[in-house]
């Protein structure tokens, strides 16, 4: 058996300092802003050198990834597998452009959350760094907007564009995600009816499932009880005793008693409550004492409770709140007022859709089965072995770092816990845009995460490797996604 060397493309100097020097051709359809093909190239070369030092600082500062530059290199017109290079550029020399007012205003959504949050020192660098988009970013944004404005949306095109990252500028992430998750149909004319239908359906679910037993019993007996007791019974005298229906009393221990079920559900509701309160404590959107945060938490609670009640097989498992959080955040920050108000209903259905591919990861009984989490982790391991056998061998054999120790959280929580919030939204753009479901892309991204830190891993032992992987270092997201994409291209 040939001992597979580390492939050359992996060993090149590209990987030690993120931010390659591409030759940029910008295929932008917005000619007005673009007198600057050369400028883009210059900028990217300048930025490439700067970004190597700047990235670490700026990433720690929690600057939003979305407003960075994305010079695009097209190696071929294949729409299905574009080779993209994205150089994340955080300390761009200030080039004020006409179009940047949008990114500034909407990315300020992120910034106000992040700045108010506990990440200290982020204010100056975040505001300076993140708000300026490049020609390619704007072009992609324009392309996406164009796609979205069609009568019948071309999903392939949307997926391709989304996989490169959805810019914040036009506030389209919410709509694109809804399309990618299949919540909105491709025919635009059907959108209002579909939305109305789904939203009212969710409303019914809530009414049915979130009622407490007092209300249920009251509803059941509305016809029986005389509403105006005051006049029927004399002012003084014995109160009439009435029979209860089917043994339904609060202390009932019967299996079918609504009261008993209610008290049994209370445990799950308490668990959901606790997790919701702990979701993203650094983001003002989710935590804090403001009524806004409280209402967001309530929405999360309701969605999770309805999901748990509708899915008695899987109920609620810790971690579902983490998958729910980005969805709700994006939908709630939809610039369209109507959509933002119905964010809860939309999030519920998209959450169901997203989770449908990953349900089996949350079911403990399926852990060891073909569809369970263990088998997915094994897939990841195999993947790594195929791409980088040296690293795989070092990790699994030499240092005996069982992938379960780190990959479990990566996979079940879809990488939300490994990166800061805006970065994870970017990663989710790529994950959700995969036409075959996010799992394949997820595995590729995980593999890329391992490959990027391979030097440190190869040099480390069990403890240091485990520490590194469980607290994955901040990294250039576009670089990460580029590597992930390359992995797909490698295997064809």
């Amino acid at each position: 058996m040939v001992n597979k060397r580390v492939p050359d493309w992996l060993n090149s100097s590209l990987w030690s300092s993120p931010g390659p020097q591409p030759s940029v051709q910008s295929p932008s359809p917005t000619p007005a802003t673009l007198n600057d093909d050369d400028d883009a190239t210059n900028r990217s070369t300048r930025s490439a050198t700067k970004s190597s030092t700047a990235t670490v600082n700026s990433v720690k500062a929690g600057g939003s990834a979305s407003g960075g530059e994305f010079p695009v290199e097209r190696t071929g017109p294949m729409p299905s597998a574009p080779a993209v290079i994205r150089a994340e550029n955080r300390h761009v020399p200030t080039r004020a452009k006409a179009e940047t007012r949008d990114p500034l205003s909407s990315s300020s959504n992120y910034h106000s959350d992040e700045e108010n949050g506990s990440s200290a020192g982020s204010t100056t660098s975040a505001s300076a760094a993140a708000a300026i988009s490049s020609a390619e970013d704007i072009s992609r944004q324009a392309q996406l907007c164009q796609e979205l404005s069609r009568k019948i949306i071309n999903m392939g095109e949307v997926r391709r564009l989304a996989s490169q990252g959805i810019p914040d500028g036009a506030g389209i992430r919410a709509t694109v995600w809804k399309l990618l998750l299949g919540y909105l149909p491709t025919e635009k004319a059907l959108w209002p009816t579909e939305l109305a239908k789904k939203r009212s359906q969710y409303k019914h679910f809530k009414e049915e499932l979130l009622m407490n037993p007092s209300e249920i019993t009251r509803k059941l007996e509305k016809s029986v009880i005389l509403d105006d007791e005051g006049t029927v019974i004399a002012d003084k005298g014995e109160l009439p005793r009435s029979e209860i229906t089917q043994g339904e009393h609060p202390l009932s221990l019967g299996k079918n008693s609504i009261w008993n079920q209610f008290f049994q559900d209370t445990e799950i509701i308490e668990q959901i409550d606790r997790d919701v309160k702990r979701t993203h404590p650094d983001l003002h959107f989710f935590s804090g004492d403001t009524p806004f945060a409280k209402s967001n938490q309530d929405s999360l609670r309701n969605i999770l409770i309805v999901f748990a009640k509708l899915n008695p097989g899987i109920r609620y498992v810790q971690g579902m709140n983490e998958i729910l959080a980005p969805l709700f955040y994006v939908f709630r920050n939809d610039p369209n007022e109507e959509n933002a108000a119905s964010a809860e209903a939309d999030t519920f259905f998209c959450f169901v859709e997203l989770l449908s591919g990953f349900r089996d990861h949350f079911c403990q009984q399926l852990d060891n089965s073909v569809v369970g989490i263990r088998s997915t982790i094994t897939k990841l391991s195999q993947f790594l072995k195929e791409h980088d056998e040296e690293l795989w061998r070092h990790l699994e054999m030499t240092t005996k770092v069982n992938p379960q120790f780190y990959a479990f959280r990566w996979i079940t929580l879809l990488l939300t816990q490994e990166f800061n919030f805006p970065d994870s939204l970017l990663i989710w753009d790529t994950l959700l845009s995969d036409p075959e479901g996010p799992l394949e892309t997820l595995l590729r991204v995980c593999c890329a995460m391992l490959i990027i830190v391979r030097r440190r891993l190869l040099a480390g032992d069990f403890t240091s490797n485990l520490k590194l992987l469980q607290n994955y270092p901040s990294t250039n997201i576009s670089h990460l996604l580029y590597v992930a994409n390359k992995l797909r291209a490698k295997l064809g």
């Binding site: 009251r218 009435s242 009393h249 609060p250």
Partner: protein, 189 residues
């Protein structure tokens, strides 16, 4: 949806050994938010047991209670309702509606819970309700030996109270309920 358990006159250990098993199996912690007890427990162990059902426990002194520091009467507000608690041996004639109504007016409560007679009763008087949960153990009273164990669970929900009456008749638990709505215009007489 607040669940309030009202019971009393257990007379443990003097007249009864323990709550009936069927009652005990139903009374599990975690379901009930408040417990109000009319008195005559009589010993501390019963107090501790009631405390395990729910930490919010209110007791008034009955004439046989060994703990002397319980108050004679107590009032508390749960949701929109004001509840009053008193053992009832102080109000004579025992169990008389008019006299209890006087006590209710005195305490200015919507629902008055008293005991001592060891008989379940629920009366409506003007705008309020007087409830006697009976004896939870079925202990004999000063008046009669023929006592069925009973207690009361109130489900307070905004302006509506559903009173569930649990009685042990011939070894079987029978549950009835009584609905009571508080009229929004409550003028104290």
């Amino acid at each position: 949806m607040v669940l309030v358990l009202a019971l009393g006159d257990l007379h443990i250990p003097h007249r009864a050994a323990d709550l009936p098993a069927k009652f005990k199996s139903m009374l599990v912690p975690g379901k009930i938010q408040h417990v109000i007890c009319t008195g005559n427990l009589c010993i501390k162990e019963v107090h501790d047991y009631l405390k395990t059902l729910c930490p919010d426990l209110h007791i008034t002194r009955g004439e046989y209670d060994e703990e002397t520091r319980y108050p004679e009467t107590k009032t508390l507000t749960i949701g929109q309702f004001k509840l009053g608690l008193c053992h009832g041996h102080q109000v004579i004639p025992w169990g008389d509606l008019d006299s209890l109504a006087m006590l209710q007016r005195q305490l200015d409560v919507d629902i008055l819970v008293t005991g001592h007679t060891h008989q379940f009763t629920a009366y409506k008087h003007e705008a309020g309700v007087v409830i006697n949960p009976g004896s939870a153990t079925g202990a004999y009273s000063s008046i009669t030996y023929d006592v069925n164990p009973s207690f009361v669970l109130m489900d307070i929900d905004a302006l509506r109270v559903v009173v569930y009456v649990y009685e042990l008749i011939d070894g079987e638990v029978k549950v009835d309920k009584i609905d009571f709505k508080k009229t929004t215009t409550q003028n104290a007489n």
